[in-house]
């Protein structure tokens, strides 16, 4: 059986999103937490647009009515040793 991947960080496919929305996870915030999409190292930079478009289709809304979950810092994953390093005097 073929799968169409959307979120490569968390292995979320078109089929996974379709199933989740059918089960009632039709809000981007709950869909994110249920499927894990947008919570991997890329934080949704790869898949956000495709998943919004798919959710819009599955719920009969326009893409503008499917709000993207707020982005979380850091923009790119950052080593704790770098983040916590003291500034040079």
């Amino acid at each position: 059986m073929t799968k169409t991947m959307l979120c490569l960080c968390r292995d979320v496919s078109v089929e996974d999103v379709t199933r989740a929305v059918s089960q009632g996870y039709g809000d981007m915030e709950t869909l994110k937490r249920f499927t894990g999409a947008f919570t991997g190292p890329c934080q949704g930079k790869t898949c956000l647009d495709s998943i919004r478009r798919l959710v819009a289709e599955l719920t009969g809304r326009s893409v503008d009515d499917v709000p993207a979950p707020p982005g979380r810092p850091p923009v790119s994953p950052l080593r704790l040793g770098t983040l916590g390093a003291r500034e040079e005097p």
């Binding site: 379709t18 929305v21 059918s22 089960q23 009632g24 996870y25 039709g26 809000d27 915030e29 709950t30 937490r33 249920f34 894990g36 919570t39 991997g40 190292p41 934080q43 289709e57 599955l58 719920t59 009969g60 979380r72 810092p73 850091p74 994953p77 950052l78 080593r79 704790l80 040793g81 983040l83 916590g84």
Partner: protein, 408 residues
């Protein structure tokens, strides 16, 4: 409209309804977090009648989906142990009871002592904890090093480990209660904001929302970070301060720390999830009054410095994501669980800082209070009158910065 629209697509979460509000309910619970959903489930179990849970956003959008997920009952006071051990026992069977896997992981909970004083304090709590039947052990430095080989040795003097405590998945717990409540007839209305609470003759009579008016004789304030504002709608003053806390998650790693770890020395707590990520947070020495849920650079740096101090290997591990949430903190950091004095039918379930672990017991005990009219013994110490009488609960094992200026 696309031909691909699927059934169920109008739901926000399994269990939420898109129906209109009914004109009358037997109880309206404000807040679809763990407190509100847990209580709704327990009231439905007791056949309380027609129940609605309303929330201004999606279920679990507040602290229920932002907390550190850690679970213990080994506290230092009989009041806290009584309430939270009732909860821990419910956690052990919660997945089966709710028929949904909340990923409760009995990995143990280590309260780390990094000073001799902290170690002596931990030792002095053991007798009380064991009198409640808690599975606690006092560990010396060597035993803690064996339990957590990656922990910085200089942080370790000893600790208390509670072997049948641990952590669970906070979102799954919200979903589990939402489903279980809905199956029993509870209506969960997301994106429904309360704008007023009607009070007449010393008791509640109605709730006004952005989606209509409701008549009801029972209203529960389980509104988390907004609990103070909700109570004011009924003319009730709740003495809490709203504080912002921050948390983070790292990239996934192979298993390297088994128990949940709490460290008063860094004012921090963390655990490694089943997905391999380290999830945790640290608290500033002085709490920051704020109802903002924006994450700060200072917060991120504080967590980075402190978690590297605790687990040096984390210096080379990336922070993937960082967020914040708010808690409502009382003068003694214990929750407020009671009927509001002078306002019959208006119940308070708020002021939580350890709300995630406490929710299963709070739901059951508040349901007892509401259905029978009397507070079970484990609930009784948490009444709001203690702030007027000054008989505050003294609990010394919390990893929370004490605040100031409560109820000002």
């Amino acid at each position: 409209m696309s031909p691909r629209v699927v059934a169920g697509a109008s739901a926000v979460l399994p269990g939420t309804t898109s129906r209109d509000l009914a004109p009358v309910y037997d109880a309206v619970i404000i807040g679809a977090g763990l407190m509100g959903l847990g209580l709704a489930y327990e009231l439905a179990q007791r056949g309380f009648g027609r129940l609605a849970v309303v929330d201004s956003a999606y279920p679990g959008s507040g602290a229920s989906g932002r907390n550190g997920e850690m679970i213990r009952s080994a506290f230092a006071s009989s009041e806290w142990i009584g309430l939270f051990d009732d909860s821990l026992r419910r956690w052990h069977t919660l997945s089966a009871e709710l028929d949904f896997n909340v990923l409760f992981t009995k990995a143990g909970y280590l309260l780390l002592a990094s000073t001799e004083d902290a170690f002596l304090a931990a030792a002095s709590n053991l007798e009380l904890q064991r009198s409640f039947g808690l599975n606690v052990e006092l560990l010396d430095a060597a035993a803690v090093r064996e339990l957590c080989p990656e922990m910085a040795p200089e942080m370790i003097v000893g600790g208390t480990v509670q072997s049948d405590a641990g952590f669970a998945h906070h979102d799954a717990t919200v979903w589990a209660y939402a489903r279980a409540a809905a199956v029993r007839g509870v209506e969960i209305h997301a994106y429904t904001t309360v704008t007023g609470i009607g009070v007449d003759g010393g008791g509640v009579t109605s709730v006004s929302t952005t989606r209509g008016e409701i008549s009801t004789r029972v209203v529960v304030d389980a509104a988390g970070g907004q609990a103070r504002d909700v109570a004011l709608l009924a003319g009730v003053h709740v003495p809490v301060e709203v504080y912002r806390l921050e948390a983070m998650v790292t990239e996934p790693l192979e298993p390297f720390v088994r128990p949940a770890v709490s460290s008063p020395a860094i004012m921090g707590y963390c655990h490694q999830t089943t997905r391999g990520e380290l999830v945790g947070g640290t608290e500033p020495d002085v709490p920051r009054p704020s109802d903002s849920i924006k994450a700060t650079l200072d917060g991120a740096r504080d967590m980075a410095v402190k978690f590297v101090r605790l687990f040096p290997r984390l210096a080379g591990v990336r922070m993937m994501r960082h967020w914040s949430g708010v808690v409502t903190q009382t003068a003694d950091v214990a929750p407020i669980l009671c009927e509001a004095p002078g306002c019959k039918g208006f119940y308070l379930d708020c002021g939580w800082v350890y709300g995630f672990v406490g929710a299963p017991a709070a739901g059951a005990l508040m349901a007892e209070l509401i259905t029978t009219g009397s507070a079970p013994p484990t609930l009784a110490p948490f009444g709001i009158e203690r702030f007027a009488t000054g008989k505050l609960i003294r609990e010394t094992s919390l990893v929370v910065a004490p605040g100031a200026g409560y109820g000002a």
